[in-house]
Symmetry: C2
Subunit: 216 residues, 2 copies
DNA sequence: TAGATTGTTAATCGATTAACAATC
DNA sequence: TAGATTGTTAATCGATTAACAATC
């Protein structure tokens, strides 16, 4: 059957909750590095992050033994390892579909903070493209996506089109062979099995917030 | 239907996984309404959404008995009930802290799709405020947040400031008495116990995507 | 009434926490 | 060596799934 999950240490599958915690570990380790901290124990990390020390050790040991008994973890080493686990030691080519304010904001964010993701192409409506410029990215209307992807290796597509265009844009990038979708459209997309989609459903998050506030 | 008021069955605590699924239920029900579908069974919803029918019934029954044996659920009724559960039948007053491209994009989004959230105040650096206008929102520099909140009831603050300003902005809105934070800063904020914070960590989501793509 | 489907209890599964031997 | 802390196995807890009686 389908099994496109990444497996470590004799095909043990990594659970989603673990994967979701990885970026947070890396974030805290990055902070510690900035503060000049060289080593950290699972106990100290536990205090900082609010996970149990046990969970932290369990999580990390899904991927290998990165610590040293009696000492703890070397901060910079662990930071780097987690980066590798998440594939952040590689470069990725990304196209943006829909370059409104949200697309522009995210493009700026990536350019500033996520340099291993290179924005190689930007696609929007025909009457918008003439006003678009972003670094050395190729800019064209959406009909050109397939052609562009056939000429360049593209790893992922950022979707920031209006809701009504979302599924169509998604279909287009999937047909173009792109295997990763970063979806900001607030629509649940139908995708082929071999494509991975990460959703940033802003409204879901807002509604969770209102849930928690409603009786305050 | 034995229970058409949204009343939680005696203080049973609702787990986070359940809460996170609520917006998605509502989204699918909204789609069904648009398609003119009047009733739906947990089995059909299961096919659409990929949750088990059992889980769907369990989730809903945390909040009440909304269905009818032998019939299923009335789509519009269930949609409305879930909205109430999430507090979407109320109005909320929101201030925005940091009105760069991201803040503007989200403001536009809320204005278009999330009308029960009213943007009442926008705060940014002193040299930025003169160029800012958004509907009837009050615009001022960040030092005025506390004062504004003392004069108006403000339910939540959207934080879209740069990382370096995030904790300070957070402290300010907390001191001003705001109990809900919608955090887009990619920083893990330290907040008082009685404040609820929803994080939209875009980079975490991007890194999860790269995790899933790295071996493709 | 017969069929469908819920609401709910019971069983299972998976994730988290605890415990501790290994070892730096 | 003694103390600290990991890596890992075992126990617990909570969430998901299955089963089925209730009932529309």
């Amino acid at each position: 059957m389908k099994n496109n999950t990444v497996q470590y240490k004799n095909k043990k599958k990594i659970s989603e909750p673990v994967i979701r915690r990885l970026p947070r570990y890396r974030r805290y380790l990055g902070e510690l590095m900035k503060d000049g901290v060289e080593r950290i124990s699972s106990g100290k990390l536990s205090e900082m992050m609010g996970y149990t020390a046990s969970q932290i050790r369990q999580d990390l040991n899904n991927f290998g033994a990165f610590g040293q008994q009696g000492y703890g973890y070397k901060v910079d080493f662990l930071y780097e390892q987690i980066g590798k686990i998440m594939g952040l030691d590689k470069e990725y080519s990304m196209v943006i579909v829909g370059f409104g304010r949200l697309g522009q904001a995210i493009a700026g964010y990536i350019d500033q903070y996520e340099k291993q993701f290179r924005i190689t192409g930007i696609f929007d409506l025909p009457d918008k493209v003439e006003d678009i410029e972003f670094k050395d990215a190729y800019v064209a209307d959406m009909d050109s996506i397939k052609d562009f992807c056939s000429r360049h290796k593209v790893d992922m597509a950022l979707l920031t089109v209006p809701r009504s265009e979302a599924q169509h844009a998604c279909d287009t990038v999937c047909e173009a062979g792109i295997k990763g979708i970063w979806n900001f459209t607030s629509v649940d997309l139908k995708i082929p099995e071999d494509v991975h989609c990460e959703n940033v459903h802003m409204s879901d998050s807002l509604h969770e917030l209102s849930y928690h506030l409603k009786d305050k």
